[in-house]
């Protein structure tokens, strides 16, 4: 799912700046089709197949999150504090979303795959590199949630 990021960069003329983007993007057109499908699927899932959008997470998780300042825990699909339209005018949430995005893009391409490429497809093919990447995902994720969240939020 992350190879499309490279393709889109190439379409934005990143191939003029780095060899990494200098490839025949037409051979990778499939990943743009997948992106298109994911957008349509998200629209259908949210607007045609859902009744309300709250996510029934563990009550212990809800109380953890309320302590961190996420009052919307258990009541919405994404935390309003970060993702609501109003939060877009808040510098702190904007910076968090942007940095989160940069880490996702950089990390996924450095590791040559994300959750779908390594945790699902790569492990399905029983590849050692994917196991290493998935262990990395959890080292990073656990570090963020347990050590950095109390500092950030």
């Amino acid at each position: 799912m992350s190879s499309n990021l490279r393709t889109i960069c190439t379409l934005c003329w990143a191939d003029k700046k780095a060899d990494y983007f200098d490839f025949n993007w037409k051979s990778q057109r499939w990943n743009l089709v997948v992106v298109f499908g994911a957008v349509i699927g998200g629209f259908i899932g949210a607007h045609l197949l859902s009744n309300g959008s709250s996510v029934a997470i563990n009550p212990d998780t809800i109380s953890n999150l309320r302590n961190l300042g996420f009052q919307s825990a258990g009541e919405s699909y994404l935390p309003d504090e970060l993702f609501s339209f109003d939060a877009l005018s808040d510098i702190k949430s904007l910076v968090i979303l942007l940095i989160g995005g940069v880490l996702i893009g950089f990390g996924a391409r450095y590791a040559a795959g994300c959750t779908s490429g390594h945790a699902i497809s790569g492990l399905s093919n029983l590849q050692l590199p994917s196991l290493i990447a998935v262990i990395g995902f959890f080292i990073g994720g656990l570090f963020m949630v347990h050590l950095l969240f109390p500092l950030i939020f």
Binding site: G41, I57, L88, L98, G101, G107, A111, G140, I152
Partner: protein, 121 residues
């Protein structure tokens, strides 16, 4: 992805708190089906829709790119609560803020492209 709630920030947080089986169930069941599917393809030498043999190209051998890249990706996955797929799913669902995450992800990819030759792989 939307209906399974794998695109929910809350489910990712819950997963990293080990407080629910939910995300492990999604990834685990996809993985079990994936292993069966790959084995069926390999053992029966199945062909694609276009009649070509299906080849699965293994990732290059190595440790550091997968470990370092994985850790950086994990930090972002937990912070923004979305991996690359759900970014698009959520944009489709109407969450405009995800465009900021997408812009960040493209920027991150671009930075990786610039630094690729200087990083350990």
């Amino acid at each position: 992805m939307y209906k399974s709630e794998a695109a929910s920030w809350f489910r990712i947080y819950e997963m990293f708190q080990f407080q629910s089986f939910h995300m492990y169930g999604i990834i685990g069941s996809a993985l079990i089906l994936g292993i069966i599917g790959v084995q069926l393809i390999k053992r029966n030498k199945l062909k694609s829709f276009f009649g070509e043999p299906i080849q699965i190209i293994p990732k290059e051998k190595g440790i550091w790119q997968y470990l370092y890249g994985g850790i950086i990706f994990g930090l972002g996955w937990a912070l923004a609560g979305a991996c690359p797929g759900p970014i698009y799913t959520l944009i489709g669902a109407g969450y405009v803020s995800l465009l900021v995450v997408l812009a960040g992800a493209l920027l991150g990819t671009f930075i990786y492209g610039l630094l690729q030759n200087k990083l350990p792989h």
